[in-house]
Structure formats: C-alpha cells, structure tokens
C-alpha cells in the first residue's frame, strides 16, 4: 500500500507531466476510436481491424507514458514496460491471425455447401 499509490503527483516537473498527459490522451483517443470501429463497422472482416489500432499504438502510448511517469517519480530508469511491449507484439498478431483464419474457413465451408465450385483466394462479404 505504501508503494506507488502514495506517491505525490506534484513532484513531477511540468516538462515530464506534459508529455505523459499528452501520451495518455492520445492513447485514450486511439483506444476509443478502435472500440468505435469494433462497434460500428458493418461486417466481421472489417471489425477485426478496429482493435488492431489500439493493440499496437494505444498500448504503446500507455506504456511509454508509464515508463516516463515511473522513471520520473522513482528517479531511476524504469524500463520493464518494454517487456509488456515485447509480449504484446508477440501474442496479439497470433490471436488476430487465428481469429481471421477461423472466419475464413467458416465462410469457405459455408460457400462449399452452397455451390461446388473451387473457391479461389476468397472474396466474401456481401452478407452481414
């Protein structure tokens, strides 16, 4: 409990607080836009691109802000956020690829039942 929760905010100099606030606002905006995309885009293949925005850039902004903030308040370089970056960059692409392939195979199978012709490098969405 005595850890970071009790750190006084006022110790931050304005030159550090400014970029941190800016990064947090940008990250928040990007996350919001990504979520909006997830909500508003008409079909699955478009919706998958919404979260991709904040997975990389949104998270990146938050992590840089976190690094700056804790480096500033603890007065030593805090870099273990880089690990989060690395793990996000390793895992998130795999997840989106898996979801994408699941959708493609589902649609391929649905098409194959409807008509027996060879599906050539997919062309889906009309149905929503």
């Amino acid at each position: 409990m005595s850890g970071f929760l009790s750190l006084p905010m006022a110790e931050l100099s304005i030159w550090l607080a400014l970029p941190i606030a800016l990064l947090l606002v940008i990250g928040g905006l990007i996350t919001f836009i990504g979520a909006l995309g997830l909500l508003r885009l008409p079909n699955f293949y478009q919706r998958i691109h919404g979260p991709a925005v904040f997975i990389t850039v949104g998270t990146g902004c938050f992590l840089i802000a976190s690094m700056l903030y804790f480096s500033g308040t603890l007065e030593r370089p805090v870099v273990h956020e880089l690990l989060i970056t690395a793990f996000v960059l390793l895992t998130a692409p795999v997840v989106s690829m898996m979801i994408m392939r699941a959708a493609v195979y589902r649609d391929l199978r649905a098409r194959r039942k409807a008509s027996d012709d060879q599906t050539d490098a997919y062309q889906f969405p009309e149905d929503e």
């Binding site: 990007i30 836009i33 990504g34 909006l36 995309g37 508003r40 885009l41 008409p42 079909n43 293949y45 478009q46 998958i48 691109h49 919404g50 991709a52 925005v53 997975i55 990389t56 850039v57 805090v78 870099v79 273990h80 880089l82 690990l83 960059l89 390793l90 998130a92 692409p93 795999v94 989106s96 690829m97 994408m100 392939r101 493609v104 490098a121 997919y122 062309q123 889906f124 969405p125």
Partner: protein
C-alpha cells in the same frame, strides 16, 4: 562455448528478460539470470525444429524503424477511416507471391503485418507460396504487393536467408 551456449542470442535475451523482470543489476540476479540463460536453451533445444541464424544487425534496426513508422502511419489512416467513412470501405483479400521461405522470417513477417493496423495475415495458401492478406481499405493492390515485397520481405530475406541474399 558452442556446447554451453548454442544460441547466444536467445541466452542474451533471457538474461535481459530476467534482469528486467527483477528490475535490478545486482550480482546475485546476474548469476541467477546467467544460470537461466544457459539452462533454458539447453532444455528446450529438442523442441526447436530448425536453428535460427540472424545476421545483419543494421538491417534489423532499419526494418524495426521503418515498420514502426509504417505502424504509426497506418494507425492514423485506419483511425480517420473509422471516424469519417466507415461505410463504403473497399475491404479486400489480396494475394501476394512471397519469395521468403524461412519459417522464422515468415513468422516475423506475420507479426509485423498483423501489428500494422489495416492489414491482417490470413494464411499462406496451401500448395502455393502466395500469402493471402486482408486489407482494410484497398486502393491499389499493386501498391501493397510492392510495399510488402520491398519494405518488409527484402530485409527479412537479408536477415534470415543469408545464402539467398
């Protein structure tokens, strides 16, 4: 040396990982990290099907920077598309013939492509070497093919397939 450190890069990154997790450079942690860095690659060696050879650190750095710029640029693009014209997007699958064969190189390519907003890697179409790529808003398929082949694939071939480059 070869016997105890068959994969110096992996060992080095494991040591780095350990030190970062513990946020210290204390000698005791250095020692413990070194033990981990030596033991883990030896233990998992039977799981790794092919050895990786990475060369050209300069190309690695250049690729990292250019893909970071690309990620930021397409993040901006996708954001404006979502906000202002979320109807009538030309969402398409495109095929890109790849020359890269090394599985590790392909894995890195997949990670970069999927981390870039607006493009998702679907699969390498079975029986061919073509990559099926899903693009959020397609203007010009040739532009995408060129971009991926020159900016991403070429550096990866240099990095992972030394004999070909």
């Amino acid at each position: 040396m070869r016997r105890w450190l068959p994969t110096p890069l992996i060992s080095l990154s494991l040591l780095g990982l350990w030190l970062m997790l513990n946020q210290t450079l204390h000698p005791a942690h250095l020692l413990l990290g070194a033990v981990i860095a030596i033991a883990i690659p030896l233990l998992v060696a039977p799981l790794r099907p092919t050895p990786v050879r990475v060369s050209r650190p300069l190309t690695v750095i250049r690729l990292t920077i250019s893909s970071l710029i690309e990620i930021l640029r397409s993040c901006f693009n996708v954001c404006t598309l979502i906000l202002f014209r979320s109807r009538g997007l030309n969402t398409q699958f495109i095929r890109i013939p790849l020359d890269l064969r090394d599985p590790h190189g392909l894995a890195v390519l997949a990670c970069i492509i999927n981390s870039t907003p607006g493009t998702v890697w679907v699969e390498i179409i079975p029986g061919t070497n073509d990559l099926a790529l899903h693009v959020f808003d397609l203007h010009d398929a040739n532009w995408w093919v060129n971009m991926i082949k020159t900016k991403l694939e070429q550096p990866l071939i240099e990095i992972f397939e030394q004999e070909k480059a």
